[in-house]
């Protein structure tokens, strides 16, 4: 079983739709959760960063974490064609680390296409 599972899609939605992207994980040691957006042939761009259960909102984006279910989500409201990209969830044990660095464990990414 992979540590992090993410549906690869592709997910196709009409412009203006609400998009829900999800990841599940198996290790309760993960305490910090991130969502990245990656356009084709570019590096991932950090969208959201959270470390507690509940919701965090930033503009049209809402990150949701349910540690009891080991389930994280990213919601995109009023989706736009410019949101078409691959979305990666990333998890880390985090904290102030020494030898372990701050290693991120990534999902495989969900490809999203927002159509006009």
């Amino acid at each position: 079983q992979k540590e992090v599972e993410q549906d690869p899609g592709p997910l196709s939605v009409p412009e203006g739709a609400i998009v829900s992207l999800n990841c599940t994980y198996s290790n309760s040691a993960f305490q910090y959760f991130m969502w990245y957006r990656q356009y084709s042939r570019k590096g991932p761009e950090l969208l959201m960063y959270t470390y507690s259960s509940g919701n965090k909102e930033d503009g049209r984006f809402t990150a949701q974490v349910d540690k009891s279910s080991k389930y994280i989500s990213l919601f995109i409201r009023d989706s736009q064609p410019s949101d078409s990209a691959t979305y990666l969830c990333a998890l880390t044990r985090g904290g102030i680390l020494t030898g372990g660095g701050n290693k991120l464990t990534f999902g495989t990414g969900t490809q999203l296409k927002v159509e006009l």
């Binding site: 761009e45 985090g94 904290g95 030898g99 660095g101 701050n102 991120l104 990534f106």
Partner: protein, 111 residues
């Protein structure tokens, strides 16, 4: 503000040739530094990470090595490239215990 630079953007190299990819970070000190490789449909695979100058940890045995000669410089190398080394290589940095920020990546094709 902090910025990360990674070059070159694309690279085509023959099998058996050496490799050197460089990454530098500006605007912060003593960052954690990472090299990832991304294959289609497989997410990002951590290759190396470093918590300080000269401190390198390898995650996956392979034909690659990494070095950190200066605080904000991270280099990925190979003495002899294999076809299987082709991929999209990403450098990243983070503060201790926080989220990571990525460079724009190098697309390496070994022919």
């Amino acid at each position: 503000s902090q910025t990360i630079h990674q070059w070159p953007a694309t690279l085509v190299q023959p099998v058996g040739s050496p490799l050197s990819l460089e990454c530098t970070v500006e605007g912060t000190s003593n960052p954690n530094l990472y090299w990832y490789r991304q294959a289609a449909g497989r997410g990002l695979q951590l290759l190396f990470y470093s918590v300080g100058i000269g401190q390198i940890s390898s995650e996956v045995p392979q034909n690659l090595s990494a070095s950190r000669p200066q605080d904000r410089q991270f280099i990925l190398s190979s003495k002899k490239l294999l076809l299987s080394d082709s991929g999209f290589y990403l450098c990243a940095w983070s503060r201790k215990g926080a989220e990571a920020f990525f460079g724009q990546g190098t697309r390496l094709t070994v022919v």
